[in-house]
């Protein structure tokens, strides 16, 4: 399979673009959207550079999903938009890990290819969060986080893509798992945790149980190698963390 190399935009250029975007409306930002930038670069690795048509296809998919959630009017359900875009982005933007780990690829996507959609999804009033635009952390960036969520928690099927694991999580639950990269970076472990959370009977505060399960698993990961384990063992590890988290919630607080 041919490796596609996606355009990269240095962070300082991304930051400069975002600075200029602050005075623009959604409509004006749509006019800024482009499939190239004079400062873009590519990996110096073997592969074929993404064509303008491929970049246009990525832009079209992002815009199409946004429109189905109200774009350019404010998003009706931003989290549902994320869930719908994640697998679509993974499919329309095939990338090897090395490309997807490169932050400049994502800075290009947010600040050049789809600045209007980034603005529409995240900017509320004067509240601009630069890390949604300029990628410094793949778990926090507008598009990087969605691509990686789909990469780690969905699986291709004959009829498309199984998104049950991803769909089962609230935004906060998903963040607890993906932003703790010792869990989110290990797909078999992340999948086992979500699988077992789906099966668990959780009384009370589910968000707190997910949070504490992640913390307990993280402590285990300091001395347990998740890559050595098969799914059954990973499920047992996840079950133990979830049970302990549930027990911890039901324990009365110390006086």
């Amino acid at each position: 399979m041919t490796t596609i190399l996606w355009p990269r935009l240095p962070q300082y250029v991304g930051r400069s673009l975002v600075k200029g975007y602050r005075s623009m409306s959604t409509e004006e930002l749509t006019k800024q959207a482009a499939v190239s930038h004079s400062e873009q670069t590519y990996a110096s690795s073997g592969g074929v550079r993404a064509t303008p048509q491929q970049l246009r296809a990525v832009r079209d998919v992002i815009e199409q999903v946004a429109k189905s959630h109200g774009f350019p009017d404010p998003p009706t359900d931003p989290v549902r938009f994320d869930r719908d875009l994640a697998p679509a982005l993974l499919d329309v933007m095939p990338m090897v890990d090395g490309e997807a780990l490169n932050r400049d690829v994502w800075t290009f996507t947010a600040t050049v290819l789809a600045p209007d959609i980034t603005y529409w999804r995240f900017v509320r009033g004067e509240s601009w969060n630069l890390e949604r635009w300029v990628c410094t952390d793949r778990t926090r960036h507008m598009f990087a986080r969605l691509w990686w969520q789909a990469r780690q928690l969905t699986t291709p099927t004959e009829s498309g893509r199984d998104t049950a694991l991803l769909d089962s999580l609230s935004e906060s639950e998903l963040n607890h798992i993906t932003e703790r990269t010792s869990i989110g970076g290990c797909a078999p472990l992340a999948r086992a945790l979500v699988r077992r959370l789906m099966a668990a009977q959780i009384p009370g505060n589910r968000r707190e149980v997910v949070r504490n399960s992640c913390l307990l698993l993280l402590r285990r990961m300091a001395f347990v190698d998740p890559y050595a384990l098969e799914d059954d063992d990973l499920d047992r590890l996840a079950d133990a963390a979830i049970s302990a988290a549930i027990d911890g919630l039901s324990r009365p607080e110390r006086p």
Partner: protein, 287 residues
């Protein structure tokens, strides 16, 4: 970097003999992969030998305990990893696997671990019980040659980038958790043609590069001082910007904390100390 001590007895390092990772030609796997690209497939092998009875005894495990070798990789940038191979440990084992170039980031740690293969209910107190418990570990760092493998230098039009057009250079620093080799960039102003020519080797260096190195080193120490609270208890991985900044700053007498105090209490002495640290680190001009 601080690491949590495991709640069980591990295996002394010298109980395991590991050949190190070797390439298909039999050469040791280098740290820097010169000709790497996304299509590279690394055929890797290595042999491990150990006295399993001695290992189990040292780890307080019963004779029936089953152990495995687990080889895995983990990209430092993004912390995404995967399994390379898992094999039962029999005493003398050869591990063979292929590492696909398209799974590697700029810096990847290749881990070899001796782990408990399955739960052992009859094990002693203080012994590992959970499957996957790491009893012994070896890490090999891989740096893929390419645009992100080194401390990159970019030549930029400062004016159009929104930087001071009369400046010659600046450090573009990502967050402290990023690998230093991919997360720090030295931006040179294209307008400073003498500096650009000197750095790219197309002109007379004439002391310019030496001076640049010295000032970049000082800028890194300034950065360490600014992030003193984050760096004092630095918990991030080795090889990150934070770890490197701290390592550099700890060369000051009294370490990073003392350097930070000096920066606010006695700026003149601070700059002299900074120059000394930078020069002792091999950057800049030696008196």
């Amino acid at each position: 970097m601080t690491a949590a001590a495991p709640p069980f007895v591990t295996v002394p390092v010298d109980l395991v003999e590991f050949s190190g990772w070797l390439t298909s030609s039999g050469d040791p796997l280098p740290e820097l992969l010169e000709d790497w690209d996304y299509q590279t497939r690394l055929e890797i092998h290595g042999s491990v030998s150990t006295d399993l009875d001695a290992v189990k005894s040292a780890a307080l495990l019963g004779n029936q305990a089953k152990l495995s070798w687990s080889a895995s990789w983990r990209n430092l940038d993004g912390r995404v990893g995967g399994r390379a191979t898992v094999e039962p440990a029999t005493g003398n084992d050869v591990l063979v696997f292929t590492l696909a170039g398209d799974r590697l980031g700029p810096i990847t740690d290749l881990h070899l671990r001796l782990v408990l293969a399955e739960e052992t209910p009859t094990s002693s107190p203080g012994s590992a019980q959970l499957p996957g418990s790491i009893l012994w570990e070896h890490t090999h760092r891989l740096i893929t040659a390419g645009e992100a493998a080194r401390f990159p230098v970019e030549i930029v039009d400062f004016e159009s980038a929104g930087l001071d057009p009369d400046a010659s250079w600046t450090l573009d620093v990502d967050d402290l958790e990023r690998p230093v080799l991919g997360g720090l960039r030295l931006l040179l102003n294209s307008r400073d043609t003498a500096l650009v020519a000197a750095v790219t080797g197309e002109g007379d260096a004439n002391g310019i590069v030496t001076a640049l190195h010295e000032r970049v080193g000082a800028a890194m120490l300034d950065l360490a001082v600014r992030h003193v609270d984050d760096l004092i208890d630095w918990n991030g991985d080795e090889g990150t910007i934070g770890a490197s900044l701290r390592q550099l700053a700890e060369r000051a007498d009294g370490g990073l904390r003392r350097l930070a105090e000096l920066a606010s209490s006695n700026p003149a002495q601070y700059y002299a100390t900074v120059a000394g640290i930078v020069r002792r680190s091999g950057l800049g001009r030696r008196p």
